[in-house]
Amino acid sequence: MSATVLVVEDEVDLLFTIALSLELNGYRVVKAASGEEAVDMVEKERPDAVVLDIRLPGIDGWEVLNRLRQRGQFPATPVVLLSAQVDAATAARAVELGCHAHLAKPFSTSELSGVLRDLLR
């Protein structure tokens, strides 16, 4: 059975793009367009990995991470963070919160698939 990946991205076309790339690489994909939706989806779908955009309307990516951690699902579930830029502060915070990988936009879809493959091995 193929692994399930939750993709959290509020830009509709980018969400479609990431999901399509993962589907074509053999993953089952569930989607969320906001932080709140992401937290619910983790509960409901129990994904094997999460691809999480930091900048989200409502509760942002950091807060999503916090809530997942409070519920004990994280860091057991690997998370790949997506952000506009990977500066030192963002990277340090991601490491501190126990993120497994961090990609800056625009990223290559094959790079994302590669990162997920390593994390789910």
Partner: protein, 486 residues
């Protein structure tokens, strides 16, 4: 005045007297001859009894041309008659004093040229009566130096930059008006103060280091740092420090020229932020374009027809979005730089509204009602006005509710167009900066706007001499554009 005791009674005009004062005649004469000032001795009639070599050089007369002449021949003509009176006055109360205290004194050369002089008078009692010695110093160089100094002082005083001098250990010695303005201390307060008092607590060490560099005789140019005003506010400053030296070349202190660069720093930060925002806005469409390009190249054969169609539609949307962003950025930059030429004309607001609706049709599910009465004529650049209307319409489609209404009315030389929708309105925290570039609400990320549409609208409407404002209309949003009539 040892020589006074040795004065014998010569008659100044007698050959014997002249001999007595001759340079080679006595040690006294040799002494006067070697004096750096021009020395002129005058008898009780005001006639020249003796001149030294420096007098000849300074005034350009030969000694023989002067001896026996009234001393006034060494003065500019306009002072001569008054001088005769002064001389009489001096004879009644002879004592050693500078001449014409507080007045500008001038000598006159044989050629007629005038030059500034400083004159010291001393009585010289002889058995024949009291002679008068005048030591005349050429002040040309001194005056020139004073003028230069006073010019420099004026420049320093009138400078917008803070300019001040300090000792080698950092005690402030002088303080111009620019420094008073920049740091908020009056000159009386600042002079005597340690320069470290101008640095915020975390930069006290820095002033020590700067003083150490100066003590080594080095110049520090355009050193950017932070200083604190008397009222405690911080300013960004650029400092240029140069050592000041005594005549032997030893460093005795330094001068500081400080320029307030707070505003420049603020503008640089705003520009950097603008560029970062623009790059960020471009990243999202680029991420989709690059991602879909890669997917189509690698997986086209495995993709369903629907996946391909969806991919192409997304490519087109994000391509257009990147395009619009770049076009808006250029427009905004040209408007800010004043490089946009407007060609104004009368435009019927209702016609323009319908044209904008044609150019920017509403997405599925959104309904637009235009209720602008015919005949409302506004004075605008027609092409740019269309741009404003399509931008506010597109903004309503993206962020507003499904019912969008454009209405209009005219009064008192202006026309107001209002665009309202029944959405959730602009988030309150966004309202104050709604018309700034890249101001986005919490609902905006998913909507695919450029982030500068409303900023552009405001620039354009203001260029038309109008005004655009936002107000909350019940739950929805309402944008009002007021424009001058034609």
């Amino acid at each position: 005045m040892a020589y006074r005791t040795r004065v014998s009674p010569p008659h100044p005009r007698s050959p014997a007297g002249r001999d007595w004062f001759r340079a080679d005649a006595a040690p006294f004469g040799a002494f006067l001859e070697a004096a750096p000032d021009a020395v002129v001795i005058i008898d009780s009639d005001g006639r020249i009894a003796f001149v030294n070599a420096q007098t000849e050089r300074l005034f350009g007369f030969a000694r023989d041309e002067l001896l026996g002449q009234p001393v006034e021949c060494l003065l500019p003509e306009r002072f001569r008659s008054a001088h005769t009176g002064h001389r009489e006055g001096y004879r009644s109360d002879p004592r050693t004093r500078p001449m014409g205290a507080g007045l500008e004194l001038f000598g006159r050369r044989k050629t007629g040229d005038e030059f500034p002089v400083d004159i010291s008078l001393s009585p010289l009692p002889t058995e024949d009566g009291v002679l008068l010695t005048a030591a005349i110093r050429d002040m040309t160089e001194r005056k020139r130096a004073e003028e230069t100094r006073s010019l420099l002082a004026t420049v320093v005083e009138s400078s917008d930059d803070a300019i001040f001098a300090k000792t080698i250990d950092g005690t402030i010695l002088s303080w111009n008006r620019g420094a008073e303005r920049m740091y908020g201390y009056a000159a009386e307060e600042a002079i005597g103060m340690p320069v470290a008092d101008l640095a915020p607590p975390d930069r006290k060490v820095e002033t020590e280091e700067l003083l150490a560099v100066i003590a080594r005789g080095e110049v520090i140019e355009q050193f950017e740092t932070v200083r604190v005003r008397r009222d405690g506010t911080l300013r960004d400053v650029s400092l240029t420090l140069s050592p000041t030296r005594d005549p032997s070349g030893r460093v005795i202190g330094s001068s500081t020229i400080a320029r307030d660069i707070t505003e420049r720093k603020r503008m640089e930060a705003a520009r950097d932020q603008f560029i970062a925002n623009a790059a960020h806005e471009l990243r999202t469409p680029l991420a989709t374009l690059a991602g879909l390009g890669e997917i189509l190249a690698d997986h086209l054969d495995e993709m369903s027809r629907e996946q391909v169609a969806q991919s192409l539609a997304a490519l087109r949307r994000q391509g257009e979005r990147a395009n619009a962003l770049v076009a808006n950025l250029l427009d905004l930059s040209q408007l800010d730089g004043g490089r946009v030429r407007f060609s104004f004309g009368a435009v019927d607001a209702a016609v323009a509204a319908r044209r904008a609706l044609d150019a920017a049709p509403p997405p599925t599910g959104t309904e637009v009602t235009i209720s602008v009465p015919d005949g409302l004529s506004v004075w605008v650049d027609p092409v740019r006005f269309d741009q404003v209307l399509t931008n506010v319409l597109t903004n309503a489609y993206r962020y507003g509710g499904p019912k969008v209404t454009m209405s209009g009315n005219g009064s008192d030389g202006s026309v107001e167009l209002a665009l309202s929708d029944d959405g959730s309105g602009v988030p309150p925290e966004l309202v104050p900066r709604l018309f700034e570039p890249f101001a986005r609400g919490s609902n905006a990320e998913s909507q695919g706007g450029s982030g500068i549409g409303l900023a552009l609208c405001r620039r354009l409407v203001e260029a038309f001499g109008g005004e655009i404002r936002y107000e909350s209309a019940g739950p929805g949003a309402r944008f009002t554009i007021r424009l001058p009539t034609s």
